[in-house]
Amino acid sequence: MSDAPLAVSARDLRRDYAMGDAPVHALQGVSLDVAAGDYAAIVGPSGCGKSTLLNLLGAIDRPTAGSVRIQGKPVESLSDREATRFRLLHIGFVFQRFYLMPALSAAENVELPMAEAGLSRAQRRARARELLRYVGLEARADHRPTQLSGGEQQRVAIARALANRPALLLCDEPTGELDAHTGAEIIALFERLNAGGTTIVVVTHDEELAAAARRVVHVKDGRILSDTRVR
């Protein structure tokens, strides 16, 4: 166990869904600590509850029971508006399908969370350029998403997720839409980010992405089966 402060701490998480008459127990008492600077991959078969866990760790969903603390702050009791603001300022999300705004350029997409956070135009532009340079897309800053390849779009999405300097980067199948070569570039980018101190939790089926993480958490039937530190 690392001595670093916890980026996120989940205790005895349970999440039930109503599906017809029978409730579905998506998570059945999951506890997980992720230290600041860690890089954890959550793996498991489809429907095992890993995305549900990610949603709870990211203050997107509320647990049926249990608690989640992000940087020490309990988030399960936040109102919808408070949770939205909290996500904006403390959590970065990377999705499988990028979800870049098609009418905006790459730089404007990166600026979007910063505009919502209230940063000045000059600050946003400078930070967006810095992040696009970091992900190797400075020259593509003015391109629309449709003018970018899948890998480039995902790198813009990662830059956008980092815009407000989040304490935690949550990624849901970030290489799911990419070919092996482009996926490898994204894996390398995550490694570089983590080496720079970014805390990353990634849900994936991609074995190469999971292998790149410092820690692999196996989830099955709503429970953590194993939690292995690999490096």
Binding site: S51, N55, G58, I60, D61, D80, R81, T84, R85, F86, R87, L88, L89, I91, G92, F93, F95, R97, Y99, M101, L112, P113, E116, R160, A161, N164
Partner: protein
């Protein structure tokens, strides 16, 4: 000018020979624009002998330079009159314009109905467009973009569509209006304006389009922002 003409009230009636003393261009009068006829001005006694009638006046219009004096003049005439009635010229003008007022209101109603129908169309388009973006909106909400920001941006987009549509509509309206006027002025040889795009009409149309467009955007966006982001993702 100077030509001699033989005129009669009916083909078999008494005739009179007149000399053309002046040719008068008819003033622009909407009530007479479509009549295909000539107007001949003759002296009253000539007219009486031609048609075989005496004086037949049942009403006439009164206007005075001092508007306050019109009422007094009318009252004096009507006290002395027998078989006819004096009216304010403005009242007669209003009365004879009733048809045009009705037509004008009818056109106004058509315009309003068209704009409202366009707004309903815009609402449908906005609903479809916003629904197409439900996953994008869900991703934005998950990233921390507030429902208010999403709502504002959709409303702004709807307003811009409404403004662009209004500008296009006004431009198109002005062009069609000019074409209609050019055509019918040629057909009826009159300087009358058959179609007028006034600042009031433009202002009213743009304002109505904007209000309805913004309302359409607001309804479309609110429908989406009320749904939790995960539900928008279909989870």
């Amino acid at each position: 000018m100077g030509d001699r003409l033989v005129i009669r009230a009916t083909p078999t009636g008494p005739a009179d020979t007149v000399i053309v003393g002046a040719v008068v261009r008819a003033s622009a009068d909407p009530s007479e624009v479509a009549r295909d006829e000539y107007r001949v001005l003759v002296h009253l006694d000539q007219l009486q002998s031609l048609i075989g009638y005496g004086d037949r006046v049942d009403r006439f219009a009164v206007a005075t330079r001092d508007r306050a004096a019109t009422g007094r003049a009318m009252a004096a005439i009507n006290d002395a009159a027998f078989g006819f009635q004096a009216h304010r010229s403005r009242d007669i003008a209003v009365e004879t314009s009733q048809t045009f007022l009705v037509v004008s209101r009818f056109h106004h109603a058509i315009g309003v109905i068209t704009i409202v129908a366009s707004a309903v169309f815009l609402l449908c388009i906005m609903l479809l467009k916003v629904d197409e973006r439900r996953r994008d909106v869900a991703a934005l909400r998950l990233m921390g973009i507030s429902a208010a920001t999403v709502l504002r941006s959709v409303v702004l987009e709807a307003a811009m569509v409404a403004v662009a549509g209004s500008a296009l509509g006004v431009g198109l309206g002005a062009a069609i209006s000019a074409a209609v006027n050019a055509h019918y002025r040629g057909v009826y040889r009159t300087p009358l304006a058959f179609s007028i795009v006034t600042p009031e009409v433009v202002g009213f149309s743009v304002a109505l389009s904007l209000v309805l467009g913004v309302a359409a955007g607001f309804l479309a966006a609110r429908r989406l922002t009320r749904v939790p982001p995960l539900a928008l993702f279909g989870r």
